[in-house]
């Protein structure tokens, strides 16, 4: 009896081990190169697993390190400040120098911005370029992560990262939907009151959390980033203020409260001012979860 039970347990353990081995074996199995993906610059074919990646996109840098492709990265641009272990260089993604980039002998260059025919110039040198433009939706952001997984041979890790993000964000959103609805938010990009509407990537975070965005009324042109009148912000009296100009412009709850008339705003009175690292609020990578978390914790405090 005991013996047969042991055999049964043993078999179960073995089966489980086999399943686990099978699963991890599939994830670890090297992607069959060449791989072709569609970036913002059209079809991109990566012939073999890249080992000298240059990232000129801070978002891509974060993703590459989050999916374990960090060791394949040889250089990142001057704005890629996360994670700290990324090999930050003086390369610029805004005013790129083709020679300096080529000097790292990259087999893949990832860019978020393609000024003055950068990708074409690199292409002429036989360097593969993947252009991932700013994501317009969460779906697009997830797709870019999976794409980076694909071109670096890290499909499994990328899929896992996306699944993890979806689970965490899903839980935060479900939680937010339970509480008081109809709260409003003002997202500040800089102290001259440029804001972001629900149409923008960052604005979709607020929509997902059930917040009303006061910038929406100001965007008749549909551009997504209107400059608001101070009078309007004060009279709208948003319930939450999110400051995405903490690093660039040193804004914090006290500097905002000191602006003329702003002490009347609901968010200032209840202390619902969220300070967010500018870079988290302007990227569309793995730290999107952190942004959700920061806003939702203010929401939770407000609802208590």
């Amino acid at each position: 009896m005991l013996r047969s039970l042991l055999v049964l347990v043993g078999a179960a353990v073995a089966a489980l081990a086999l399943t686990v081995a099978g699963a991890s074996g599939a994830a670890a199995a090297p992607t069959a190169f060449p791989v072709t993906v569609v970036g913002s610059n059209g079809k991109v074919t990566v012939t073999k697993r890249p080992s000298r990646i240059v990232s000129l996109s801070p978002t891509a840098t974060e993703t590459l390190f989050a999916i374990g492709a960090g060791p394949q990265v040889v250089a990142v641009d001057d704005q890629s400040d996360f994670p700290k272990s990324a090999p930050k260089t003086a390369l610029s993604g805004f005013t790129p120098n083709v020679e300096a980039i080529a000097g790292y002998r990259p087999d893949l260059v990832v860019i978020a911005y393609d000024p003055k025919g950068l990708s074409e110039a690199l292409g002429r040198l036989g360097i593969t370029v993947l252009h991932q433009d700013g994501a317009k939706s969460f779906k697009g952001a997830y797709q870019q992560i999976r794409q980076l997984g694909r071109v670096t041979g890290r499909d499994g890790r990328a899929a896992k990262l996306v699944a993890g993000m979806k689970t965490k964000i899903g839980a935060i959103v479900a939680d937010a939907r339970k509480g008081r609805q109809g709260l409003s938010v003002y997202h500040e990009l800089d102290p001259t009151l440029f804001s972001a509407t629900s149409k923008t990537f960052i604005g979709q975070v607020y929509t997902a959390l059930g917040l009303e965005n006061i910038a929406d009324a100001a965007d008749s042109a549909g551009f997504g980033y209107p400059q608001l009148s101070a009078e309007y912000v004060v009279s709208s009296s948003p319930d939450i203020i999110v400051l995405a100009d903490t690093v660039c412009c040193g804004q914090k709850a006290s500097t905002v409260a000191a602006r003329p008339g702003w002490d009347r705003i609901s968010a200032i009175r209840t202390g619902s001012v969220v300070r967010i690292d500018d870079s988290i609020a302007s990227r569309w990578g793995p730290r999107l979860v952190d942004f959700f978390r920061a806003v939702s914790s203010a929401l939770t405090r407000l609802r208590q």
């Binding site: 440029f194 100001a218 400059q227 009148s229 040193g250």
Partner: protein
């Protein structure tokens, strides 16, 4: 001789007639009223007057505005209107002064490099000062210092030239300094691309909603500048004849020009420091007045103060109401509405002045 003959009509140009003086003041008062009554938040005309009455402690008048609306009116809107009036007056009078002193109808307040210098100062502050320190306190100071340094350099370069009494030399020096400072600013900006947006929004120019602090900050500079220019307004008519002619009439050309240029420049630097670059006001306002009234500088200068103030207040009303509750950069408004209007003035008055 011919030069005097050519300019003779301008010396005798009309002075300030009561009609034009009253029209200008009426225009300013109307602009101020519109500026205070109009805005992205509708406060109601009656309520605004009640609130003003209550502030003046008129017996039996009490405000019907909520505390938030009171704050919007007195801490945001009224100071912004006052700031626009101050800056508009300064830019217009500086433009008129430069046009007279340099005998160049295209001279604007930014001619001697003040804009490029202020731009460099602001960019350096934005790029290198720690965020907490620069706030909105250090930025105007840096811009003011940059603008003043640029004009001082212009003057030094202009004086080092042999033909130091020639106003054209000074203008050329201004062009040189502007080019140099602009290049420097672009370089600093490129090295610090993360600050691009802040620099860009400063350069676009707008009247900030910073309450009374900015008004108080620039009021002394602009008041002194305007008083000095007003006191010397008759001399501008003489300077406009040319340096030799002015000297023969007993004017110390270099000293008077220096005083006028320093006053116009310091005032402009103070204005630019808080509002960024607002183009076209310094050209359009004096020329419109000249075309409509045909007055000489001794009347043009005070009229520019009054009309310039009214013009920028109105332009700012457009900037904050047309796309309300969004804003449009003020420099866009002054040029977009100013240029066609000016073309119309040119067209309708061409026959009369030639």
């Amino acid at each position: 001789m011919t030069s005097i003959a050519e300019h003779a009509p301008e010396v005798r140009a009309r002075g300030l007639t009561p009609v034009w003086a009253c029209s200008a003041v009426a225009f300013l008062l109307a602009s101020l009223a519109i500026g205070i009554l109009a805005g992205p938040v509708d406060l109601g005309v009656g309520a605004v007057f009640e609130s003003a009455g209550a502030r003046l402690h008129l017996p039996g008048v009490s405000t019907s505005l909520s505390p938030t609306e009171e704050a919007i009116l007195w801490e945001i809107r009224v100071p912004r209107v006052m700031l626009a009036a101050l800056v508009g007056a300064m830019l217009a009078v500086a433009g008129a002064t430069y046009q007279g002193v340099f005998r160049n109808p295209l001279a604007d307040p930014y001619l001697l490099g003040v804009a490029a210098g202020a731009g460099l100062g602001a960019t350096i502050a934005i790029a290198y000062l720690p965020a907490g320190l620069r706030g909105h306190r250090m930025l105007p100071v840096a811009a003011f210092v940059g603008g003043s340094v640029a004009v001082f350099l212009t003057y030094a370069v202009g004086r080092s030239a042999r033909r130091e009494r020639d106003a054209a030399t000074l203008v050329l020096a201004g062009v040189t300094v502007t080019a140099f400072f602009t290049a420097w600013q672009t370089f600093v900006q490129q090295q610090n691309s993360e600050t691009l947006q802040e620099v860009y929004s400063w350069i676009l120019g707008n009247i900030p909603s910073t309450g009374w602090s900015d008004v108080i900050l620039i009021l002394p500079y602009i008041a002194v500048a305007i008083v000095v220019i007003l006191a010397l307004r008759r001399v501008v008519d003489v300077l406009n004849l040319g340096d030799d002619e002015a000297a023969s009439l007993g004017v110390d050309v270099r000293r008077v020009r220096l005083a006028l240029v320093v006053a116009a420049t310091l005032g402009t630097a103070a204005a630019v420091a808080v509002t960024g670059l607002i183009g076209f006001v310094g050209i359009i306002v004096p020329h419109t007045i000249r075309l409509l009234t045909g007055v000489g500088y001794r009347a043009l200068i005070p009229l520019s103060v009054v009309v310039g103030a009214g013009f920028l207040v109105l332009a700012d009303v457009v900037a904050r109401t047309v796309l309300a509750p969004a804003e449009i950069p003020l420099g866009v408004v002054t040029a977009f509405f100013g240029a066609p209007f000016f073309a119309l003035v040119l067209r309708t008055t061409r026959g009369g002045t030639s």
